[in-house]
Symmetry: C2
Subunit: 152 residues, 2 copies
Amino acid sequence: MMLSRASKYAILSTLFLAEHSSETHKISVKVIAESIDVPNPFLAKLFQQLVRGKIISSTKGPNGGFYLTKKNGKRTVLDIIENIDGLTRLNECFLGLSECDGANPCPVHFIVEPFKNGILGKFRDLTIMEFSKEITSQGRKLTLKDITPEFK
Amino acid sequence: MMLSRASKYAILSTLFLAEHSSETHKISVKVIAESIDVPNPFLAKLFQQLVRGKIISSTKGPNGGFYLTKKNGKRTVLDIIENIDGLTRLNECFLGLSECDGANPCPVHFIVEPFKNGILGKFRDLTIMEFSKEITSQGRKLTLKDITPEFK
DNA sequence: ATATATTAAGACCTTTTTATCTTTTATATG
DNA sequence: CATATAAAAGATAAAAAGGTCTTAATATAT
Ligand code: FES
Ligand code: FES
């Protein structure tokens, strides 16, 4: 029931691409890594895998970089997680029991279940583009940086 | 927002003690480890720490073992987690952002928050003994073993 | 064509988590 | 008091996760 750090980075940076990139405006790992404050070479690795998984796109060379095509934007956040972590992590019992279902619930199963359904539903049913729109419309942020309060 | 395996083992085995042990009936690591299917020496280490944290009790020698005193039974599941993992893990943002609060919510914050409050509340407000009663009354199980269906 | 920018690929390193092993210490019981 | 039994302590090992570095491939602009 938890994401690896890798998945988290992948989600944030893909959402970043959704918001800031296009086929005519590609972005380099370096810029993204700095923007969302994630280790550069680690993100590069993740991006390679996301490209192989056809979740994001890339071109090499000058003015190259990473971006989302229309088609990429129709993938889901769950696709990202599946690509990086696989799906088992998300379905695991919160206390680590071998199965997680209502038939053999662990002590916290019925607290966890509604949450799991809620978050899984959202990750499964919204496209990356829709998800991204929801974020920008709500003015949420996509960085791991500390938000330094502005005193001015 | 996730527990380490160590915490999970600790929770399960403490609940096991709540259900099966008493000051007059102590249980060895070996028995517990086999019952809930957890690596024996690893659990032994965890138990040492839980004893130091006064969450469970132990005596050495013949007929020794681990058990809960009345006082132990009044601790909470959150105490177990705090003792093993610390509290930061539980409070972390689901996407790994630096702060998790309503003022600077991440894209999934408002899905995660009610769950977090629910589970944290339960872990904080019920004693281990209460928690355990709730479990036994509902016939839930405390093992990591595969539940082999009984065909008889 | 060539230089350059940028990703791709793979080997490698570090840290954290999980797990084991060995020795010491305490204690109940005969 | 001797012995057996079980936990405590500490050293070590194995595995997984996270992170880095170096070299190759490739697309673009000049
Ligand atoms: S969360 Fe434990 S069985 Fe579902
Ligand atoms: S879960 Fe991400 S900010 Fe609260």
